[in-house]
């Protein structure tokens, strides 16, 4: 069923009785060619592109809860391609380009909104570093601009420009960055995949893997055994637990990341702003809520809720940047489990088990990657070779010393 404004008008005349379900609710088949584990953004995008771009058939997505119940429905919805390193920047720029045509491609309005993202600059050293980043972005086909203080002031006059510790001296701007309505991404991909015959199976948790002779044969699930020729795992925060079913230990730790939304306010922040020095970033949704966040909780956890220290830290950072928000109110705080990798960059790769493929390690930044991650994972699953922009995302990079460490933090997942 195609969506359009005309269709909405036509349906209005009949009391909206003619709308059809966005996806089917199929029972699992005994076996599939390709089974994707995880009905988050990446899993659903993978299934969508497998069916649409790579001509694959007999595909299922297994989701332990409801579609989009994981991080894709919990994140702060920022998209951008302002990465520094060679292993990352081409991939994220590929992703941003896919975002730019996504809604037309899957006929669903996900509110891809390129209102721009700025990273604030406080020191000369930061300006040099952001200049370098801007150059790296441009050399990868992305857009980047350096703003001076006056330009930032013209956009956001209410910021604290003369903060004692972090006076604002300028910003790195990517105009094509912005936000996307996160749930709609999961729903759009799900609807697109379903309409191309992919079975989306909800309330189906993978509880084991059947492996013989080094080959994957299928999955034990809460809805019975499901056979598969190939299995692609894209379970984000659950990566280490799911891959343990194959006896694999990953270079990944799990941490909670919290997100915050304020009560609805009349719009005053147009784009996305990051205040790295104060561990704070913010945007304002189309509904008016300030959506913001900060650092991950420092300890390892599988519980999708955070703790107080980070909440206070984030509130402090927010008020340091915008002293007026002291009287705005925090409406809701939630958490998601981040698959923090050892260098802060993701993995899209084969595993030692034949037929078992892995996609994970997205840390707190995998939402923006959703289209490219799906595309590249589909590429790998369908053709057994990495997509050109995802070549660096291999498991063995730690062995070879080819880490992609944007922050230069070393093997400390909680610091990336």
């Amino acid at each position: 069923m195609r969506y359009s404004g005309l269709r909405v008008i036509a349906e209005a005349l009949t009391g909206h009785k003619g709308w059809k379900p966005v996806w089917r609710d199929p029972a699992p088949q005994p076996d599939y060619d390709i089974v994707i584990v995880g009905g988050g953004g990446h899993g659903l995008a993978t299934a969508y592109y497998l069916a649409k771009e790579f001509g694959q058939k007999r595909i299922a997505v297994l989701e332990k809860g409801w579609l989009g119940s994981g991080n894709v429905g919990r994140n702060t919805t920022i998209i951008r391609s302002n990465y520094l390193l060679d292993g990352n920047e081409p991939f994220y720029e590929f992703s941003l380009r896919l975002w730019e045509g996504l809604e037309q491609d899957f006929n669903y309005n996900a509110m891809v909104s390129q209102r721009g993202i700025i990273n604030l600059i406080h020191t000369d050293a930061q300006r040099d570093a952001f200049t370098r980043r801007g150059n790296a972005m441009i050399l990868n086909g992305a857009d980047a601009e350096l703003l001076d203080q006056a330009q930032v002031r013209a956009m956001y006059p209410f910021l604290n420009f003369d903060n004692a510790r972090f006076p604002i001296k300028g910003a790195l701007m990517q105009r094509r960055g912005g936000t996307v309505r996160h749930d709609a991404v999961a729903w759009g991909y799900a609807r697109g995949a379903d309409s191309r015959g992919v079975d989306l199976i909800q309330n189906c948790e993978v509880t084991g893997m059947r492996i013989a002779g080094g080959r994957i044969l299928g999955l034990e699930t809460t809805r019975g055994f499901i056979g598969a020729r190939k299995v692609g795992v894209a379970v984000a925060g659950s990566s280490s637990r799911v891959m343990a079913h194959a006896g694999l230990r990953l270079p990944i730790e799990s941490h909670a990341l919290q997100a915050f939304v304020s009560e609805g306010l009349k719009p005053f922040i147009d784009g996305v702003m990051t205040f790295g020095a104060g561990h704070f970033y913010v945007s304002q949704s189309d509904k008016g809520g300030l959506v913001f966040g900060g650092d991950i909780d420092g300890y390892n956890s599988y519980a999708a809720r955070g703790n107080l220290p980070v909440i206070e830290d984030v509130a402090e950072g927010g008020m340091a940047l915008m002293p007026a928000i002291g009287r705005a109110r925090l409406l809701r705080i939630w958490g998601g489990i981040m698959d923090m990798s050892m260098d802060g960059s993701p993995i899209i790769d084969r595993t030692p088990v034949e037929g078992l493929y892995f996609n994970g390690g997205w840390c707190y930044g995998g939402f923006k990657a959703t289209p490219a991650s799906g595309w590249c994972f589909a590429h790998l699953l369908a053709r057994d070779e990495p997509h050109p922009t995802a070549r660096a995302y291999r498991f063995d990079r730690f062995l070879r010393g080819l880490m992609i460490d944007e922050k230069g933090q070393g093997a400390q997942p909680n610091l990336h």
Binding site: I9, A12, P21, A315, E316, A320, R332
Partner: protein
């Protein structure tokens, strides 16, 4: 008309009238009023507009669950948006304004959305605005954003103060209703430390309004006596106006206390409580549910309990005639309260087939028309209620009669407030009889000891009747004290719970839609979420479209996502969803309860960490001197260091140039106090440093200094600095200014987690010493001027340190150099730093006495080809890349990073390595530029082969100099490479030796 009654009102003080304004109109209320009760007393029925359709809205509730009455309060730097009028006490001079309406509350242009409501059902925006793509950015979204939001964002820096506290409790009781009070009494009697927190300013919750009697007294009297007892106990802390916002792991609780609505200057407005509690009793009560009938959002339609509150607590009449519509007995109490206040109740429409309990009988006896099996078909009136049309609950809505009235009091039953139970994973069970989700005692949230840390009590546990609430509260208090306190509960706790007398109640009948058989026309006028404008028809549409998980339906329709977080709408909504997909309600389940319970002001969370106290500035002992000399500052970590000292209108560039030349030609002084100084001591100190640094430190003789590099496990350079051996078992490690805390943490990490049996202690002494570098050919002369230590070349060679008294000040001097000049770094106790600095400045006066800043420091080191952490390194660069192999021991079996550095990519010959770069025209290379190579990458852009890491104008050489990392750089001396810049130019530069000045290193060896 809503108005103030001539008598009554248990919470207002008629001797203290207060003036306030609403949208500019000057109005009056009384002390004890809420903004909501005062507005109603002034016949302000219309108080707001809904979010999506801009429908006129009145006050629905009397507490935290209010979805409609959100106002702006205050002005300027004290303006606060979205204030819930039902929770805001009135104060003299309060300035309230309506929100989300233009040009005015009464005539709001946004109402056009209401007319187009059929075109704008749930989720319509996902299906449209797709083509053509640019329209979203340039047309649709700007229009949507203009309409977004509720209140205006505050624009001025918040003028008020907030404070924060830590507290500990054996038993924290959240909720000061009778259950909470009974719990506190029972727990406190054992001697346990008890905190009792209540979100409103009043104790007792619903009981005093409901007219129950407790232990033979009126509820209000029992409450007053109980509070007096609690208040007299030293182990009890009473916190009125304190909202328990969230329960976190291991009994950590966040609460927000309101200290003042209009604080006196200097006084805090709110206070954040961080409470660590052994046991938490959630006695948070229950919230009444609206009924879903057509027009239930009209101003004048209120919750039955709220109508009762306004009449009894604040002597406010919602109108002369109030029709009651209910599915339970409790709402009959509202009819009683209205009659007692002399107001009319034209009818009670009870959806149940029969209404025969004690309460209906009492109302019938007073001559009220009680209609069983009856429902509201439709509410008439637009800006306010005019009449209701009645119908059969079992039918489809055929109108039986029309009852004129000014208000409608509705009750769909009660939902326990289970938020605090649920925040840390407590599970719920569906109570079929009372149609509610209640805490499942078998599946509580557990604390650090694995035992239940939250106990639900009273209405929050599902016990709706006063007697049950009291018993439940009492038992919870005893149990919590037994588990969390230190005394056996039998010690003092009264075995008997207080006893309430209240009429028995007949069971309710779940009603999720009124009437039962209402069609889509009526369903499209039945509101579930009043603020977000979600109706029964929207949830049904979501179900029809396959958004059948309760979370999908919530997100698709926005049900429960408004500022009240669904307190009145979630259960009704999920019941409608269950009906639509033909599933039992417990199978549908609830959405997740997340903190905070009601929204918390961001200022409370930030507390005092604002302005200058947000990450406070660190100052060296010489900071004030720099400031007085007009230093231009640069933030470095948490410090601020002088970037340069401009003199008499000089530009920064000119100042830097002058400072560099002064150092090269005479002498300059640098405040180096920010350098990290970590003492490492113990029998295993040498062994420890041998692991930490790439070089060997254990062989360093006492009295000597050695430059060292530290890498992370990956082998990448993370910090550098000079190590001095102070005694056989004591080393002082210098780190970069920004790296001191990080490196100290790094050392402790290894000592505590990996090498816990090594005998080493560390201490971060960074702030204990002031350190001053005296640099330049005349440096020795300056030190000799102060006298007391022999600084001759023979007595005090390069890379040595000495201790003594310099000009009367105890000092340790290191002869090290980061500029290539003769240089002494003098460390003295911090308290004497300024004195030393001034003495040195005096002694240097004959040579010009030039203080210099960080930029000159950078230029000086770059002229010598010395690397700087953070410039030449970024966490991906090895010492080998920087040609620092000489500082890496080949003999050591291991050091942190060694294995990492042996990996194939790190030993690859094509790695980018450090070289000097000089532009062909002598200009300064732009910072952050990349060198391009032949060919293009996947995105059609040029390949890269290196980048600039440091670039300056060298005053010494009179031209630009730079350092960079270039693929195979050191093998390509003399080659020219191109650097495109952000503005589109390409700058050509030649690869050269990174040491630009004094290649032989003669200047420092004098």
């Amino acid at each position: 008309m809503s108005t103030r009654l001539a008598t009554g009102g248990r919470l207002i003080d008629r001797t203290r009238p207060l003036g306030f304004s609403f949208d500019g109109a000057r109005l009056r209320g009384y002390a004890g009023d809420t903004l909501a009760s005062a507005l109603l007393a002034n016949d302000r029925m219309l108080v707001g507009r809904s979010f999506k359709y801009h429908r006129p809205r009145g006050i629905l509730a009397s507490g935290a669950e209010e979805p409609n009455a959100l106002l702006g309060l205050g002005t300027g730097a004290r303006f606060e948006p979205n204030v819930r009028a039902t929770q805001q006490p009135l104060f003299e001079g309060a300035t309230a304004t309506s929100q989300n309406a233009w040009p005015s509350l009464a005539f709001d242009i946004g109402i056009l959305n209401d007319l187009a409501a059929r075109l704008l059902p749930a989720g319509f925006y996902y299906k449209t605005f797709i083509h053509p793509r640019p329209f979203w950015k340039h047309l649709f979204e700007p229009v949507i954003r203009r309409a977004a939001g509720l209140g205006r964002a505050p624009r001025e820096a918040d003028a008020d103060r907030y404070e924060q506290l830590y507290a500990f409790a054996d038993v924290l009781v959240a909720g000061g209703g009778v259950a909470g009070i009974a719990a506190a009494l029972a727990a406190a009697a054992t001697g346990a430390r008890v905190i009792l927190a209540e979100q409103t300013a009043h104790w007792g919750g619903r009981a005093p309004v409901d007219g129950d009697r407790i232990d033979g007294q009126a509820a209000a009297e029992w409450v007053a006596a109980a509070l007096a007892r609690l208040g007299a106990m030293p182990n009890v802390t009473l916190l009125p106006r304190t909202m328990v916002a969230g329960v976190y792991d291991h009994g950590y609780v966040l609460a927000e206390e309101t200290l003042a609505d209009d604080p006196a200057p200097g006084h805090a407005r709110r206070r954040l409580w961080r409470i660590r509690a052994r046991r938490i009793i959630a006695a948070t009560g229950a919230i009444e549910r609206p009924l879903a009938f057509a027009g239930n959002d009209r101003p004048g339609v209120m919750l039955a309990s709220a109508v009762r509150d306004y009449v009894v607590n604040w002597a406010v009449s919602p109108g002369d005639r109030t029709v009651i519509v209910t599915n339970n007995d409790d709402a009959y109490r509202t009819a009683l309260a209205l009659l007692d206040a002399g107001l009319a109740v034209p009818a009670i429409l009870d959806a149940r087939p029969e209404a025969t309990g004690a309460l209906p009988a009492a109302l019938r006896a007073r001559g009220v028309r009680v209609e069983a099996g009856r429902a509201v078909a439709r509410v008439l009136g637009r800006g306010r209620v005019r009449a209701v049309q009645t119908c059969l609950q079992a039918g489809e809505g055929a109108v039986i009669d029309e009852i004129p009235c000014e208000a409608v009091a509705m009750s769909g039953g009660w939902s326990p407030v289970v938020h605090l139970w649920s925040h840390c994973g407590g599970k719920l069970r569906w109570d079929e009889g009372r149609a509610m989700f209640a805490p499942d005692p078998a599946r509580p949230p557990t604390g650090a000891d694995g035992a239940a840390m939250v106990i639900a009590a009273g209405a929050a546990s599902g016990a709706l009747h006063a007697t049950d609430c009291l018993r439940d509260g009492h038992e919870a208090g005893r149990r919590a004290a037994a588990e969390g306190g230190s005394m056996p509960p039998e010690a003092a706790s009264p075995a008997e719970a207080p006893h309430a007398e209240a009429p028995a109640e007949a069971p309710l009948m779940p009603v999720w839609r009124m009437p039962q058989g209402a069609g889509v026309r009526l369903a499209a006028k039945m509101w579930l979420d009043f603020q977000n404008d979600v109706k029964v028809s929207d949830v049904e549409l979501a179900a029809r479209e396959g958004y059948q998980s309760v979370e999908h339906a919530k997100r698709y329709t926005t049900l429960g996502m408004a500022t009240d977080q669904g307190k009145t709408s979630n259960i009704n909504g999920l019941a409608v969803l269950a009906g639509a997909i033909d599933a039992p309600i417990p199978a549908v389940g609830t959405t997740t309860f997340r903190p905070p319970y009601t929204p918390v002001v961001i200022g409370t969370l930030a507390g005092e960490a604002r302005g200058a106290v947000f990450q406070p500035l660190r100052r060296t002992p010489i900071h004030g001197w720099h400031e007085a000399r007009g230093a231009h500052w640069e933030p470095v970590g948490q410090w601020r260091r002088p970037y340069c000292f401009p003199q008499g209108g000089e530009s920064h560039a000119d100042a830097v140039r002058r400072e560099v030349l002064a150092v090269r030609n005479a002498v300059g002084l640098l405040d180096a106090s920010t350098l990290g100084k970590i003492l490492v001591k113990g029998p295993d100190a040498g062994r420890f440093l041998d692991m930490l640094y790439t070089g060997v430190m254990s062989t360093l003789p006492v009295g000597k200094c050695r430059y060292g590099l530290m890498c992370n496990e990956n082998g990448f350079l993370s910090d550098d600095g000079v190590v001095a051996r102070l005694s056989e078992d004591t080393f002082l490690c210098h780190t970069t200014s920004g790296g001191a805390d990080r490196i100290h943490g790094w050392m402790e990490d290894w000592l505590q987690c990996e090498w816990w049996d090594w005998k080493v202690y560390t201490a971060n002494l960074t702030e204990q010493y002031a350190q001053i570098a005296v640099v330049g050919p005349k440096a020795r002369a300056v030190l000799e001027g102060l006298g007391g230590i022999d600084v001759s070349a023979e007595a005090f060679p390069f890379m040595a340190w000495v201790e003594g008294t310099l000009g009367g000040i105890p000092a340790r001097i290191y002869r090290i150099s980061f500029s290539g000049e003769l240089s002494y770094e003098i460390a003295v106790p911090a308290a004497r730093g300024l004195e030393l600095w001034e003495r040195l400045m005096d002694a240097a006066a004959p040579h010009g006495a030039t203080p210099y800043g960080t930029e000159a420091l950078h230029v000086l080191r770059a002229e010598k080809g010395f690397i700087m952490i953070g410039d030449e390194t970024d966490g991906t660069v090895t010492p080998q890349d920087l040609n620092l192999g000489w500082a890496i021991s080949k003999k050591k079996a291991d050091y942190l990073g060694k294995r990492g550095q042996e990996r194939s990519f790190l030993t690859h010959p094509d790695r980018w390595r450090l070289v000097g770069l000089e532009t062909l025209d002598g200009s300064v290379l732009p910072d952050g530029a990349y060198a391009v190579a032949e060919g293009t990458n996947a995105n059609g852009q040029r390949n890269t082969q290196g980048r600039v890491t440091s670039t300056y104008f060298s005053p010494t050489l009179g031209r630009g100099i730079a350092m960079g990392l270039i693929a195979r750089g050191p093998e390509r001396m003399g080659e020219v490479v191109g650097f495109p810049t952000l503005d589109g130019r390409v700058v050509q530069a030649r690869i050269c030796d990174p040491v630009f000045y004094d290649k032989a290193g003669e200047k420092q060896n004098v």
